[in-house]
Symmetry: C2
Subunit: 314 residues, 2 copies
């Protein structure tokens, strides 16, 4: 990764991805980083277009995220939602008053013909974010989790049903005909390196790979590709990744994660707690690299981002 080469292309989902994205944004200048975010989770609530992963990354990079949850905004209130509940609207999806401004503004601009990329750029600029944060696609892709209770729209599975139904498969409606967003498309051609952030491989990374020809282009990507495991010590740091690995018949460990990246990844970053798995990673065709991957503080995020930058600079 020389100084004249292209940017680092980071692929991210929600909270875990946002944490590393923040770290990378602290160690790479704006022209050296493109953060592409999953939009398979997008959903319409109350007629408003909600992009949960884009918002989590945006709020995190803007320094506005709720530090207790990792998603949503700090200092949030819920007056609108309470009133919507009085009106008989379903309110199982938690939307704060400040957060709703994002969805209201996005919906209005989309209805005026802006693309999701254009809306996202405008929102990010208004919040003072200098790095590129872009949706994986401007076309609609919707993640559907096929479960023992039948197929469930992503937020229905994830929020309303608390990931409780057993997963059989995950599909991405619209992905085949969707195109990568313009900035993603450019980055797939120009990026010098690729980072899979520590996000759920099935729910956050697979939808990005499912867009158009993205998987093929990453399979033949020229620069180094690095994955950070979202599983540490046999458990997901957050969310249903561990549960889904088990339900889909994979080892519940960073090895189970690495299996999902065969052919897509060259360097695999695992937590020091998982040192014993290094050989198994190697045997999957990836170079194992051990460090602390748990990002509680901004210092943790920056340290992990620097670790990755060093790997990519070799």
């Amino acid at each position: 990764m020389g100084t004249t080469s292209g940017p680092v292309l980071a692929l991210a989902g929600g909270v875990g991805g946002a944490k590393l994205a923040l770290g990378l944004s602290k160690v790479l200048p704006p022209d050296r980083l493109v953060i592409v975010v999953n939009t398979g989770d997008d959903e319409e609530f109350h007629g408003l277009h909600v992009s949960p992963d884009l918002d989590t990354v945006m709020y995190t990079l803007a320094g506005l995220a709720n530090p207790d949850t990792g998603w949503g905004l700090a200092g949030e209130s819920f007056q609108t939602l309470e009133m919507l509940s009085n009106y008989g609207a379903p309110t199982w999806f938690n939307l704060g008053d400040k957060d709703l401004a994002t969805h209201i503004r996005r919906t209005q601009l989309l209805s005026q013909g802006w693309s999701l990329s254009q809306v996202t750029r405008d929102l990010c600029q208004r919040l003072g974010i200098e790095h590129a944060v872009v949706p994986m696609s401007d076309d609609e892709v919707r993640t559907v989790v096929d479960t023992d209770d039948g197929p469930l729209a992503f937020q229905e599975y994830f929020v309303h049903r608390h990931c409780e139904p057993r997963t059989r498969a995950v599909s991405f409606h619209g992905a085949e005909v969707a195109k990568p967003s313009p900035t993603f498309d450019t980055a797939l051609r120009s990026a010098s390196a690729l980072v899979f952030c520590p996000s759920n491989p099935f729910l956050s990374i697979d939808p990005i790979l499912a867009v158009g020809d993205v998987r093929e282009r990453i399979l033949s990507f020229k620069g180094p590709r690095v994955t950070v495991s979202p599983i540490v010590g046999g458990a997901a740091l957050r969310g249903p990744a561990a549960k889904m690995l088990e339900e889909l018949g994979h080892p519940v460990s960073c090895v189970g994660v690495a299996r999902q990246y065969r052919g897509l990844c060259d360097l695999f970053v695992l937590d020091q707690a998982d040192n014993a798995h290094a050989d198994a990673i190697q045997s999957l065709g990836m170079e194992p690299h051990v460090t602390n991957t748990i990002m509680n503080t901004d210092e943790d995020k920056i340290a992990l981002a620097k670790f990755i930058r060093r790997l990519l600079e070799r």
Copy 2:
């Protein structure tokens, strides 16, 4: 107004109209009152359909209105608007967090094909309102104030420009081809009496009269028609009614108001402060009736409603 005859049809605008509507709702059972509300003030903000007068009447009848302003909701906060401002959205129109739930819900239901009447009925029922509160029309009518600064959309004139530009005329775009809402249409046929609430004649009542054939139907209405003056002692109780009377060349008094109702009204209720104008009212072809018309407390509202009920029962 016998017990077997039709309901009282009350025509209302915003705060003043809502106060009398509340009084009437306290002295007439739900099957004896239909409140028809001006929607010429409706406007889209942030892609959401806002119906200021409908909301003022609805919040007032639900006991939720902000007692200090007469419009908006009590205990309101403004987090969403502040965040919308961060996003560069124009925020001169004050929208509270709770209030936004109304606009979000309305917009969603309208986009699903509900009529404004259906949406309003649903919202009112959810808030426990038993009396009929209906829009003047389910079709779009937009009040435009022609001023020395050119034509201004109603909210632009009223809120953004604080009614400062001098009025030349007021027009109601779409009114000619609009139809009265179904409940309004039925009430125009079945009502036993008609009440013009103390609302601005130019901005709140004229748009209702401009809808389709409403003016003709009220000119030939069979039962007693009563107007309550919104001007007391030469000043508007609120809003630009006095300023507009002057700008449009009318006396700034209840007589100026009464002029607007010639042929449309039989009984004219003026404030005790305006006792001296009774003869002038009489000479316009309306029976003057003097009482206290200033509604500060719920008792004032009920007393005025009872006064009107007695007039209509003669």
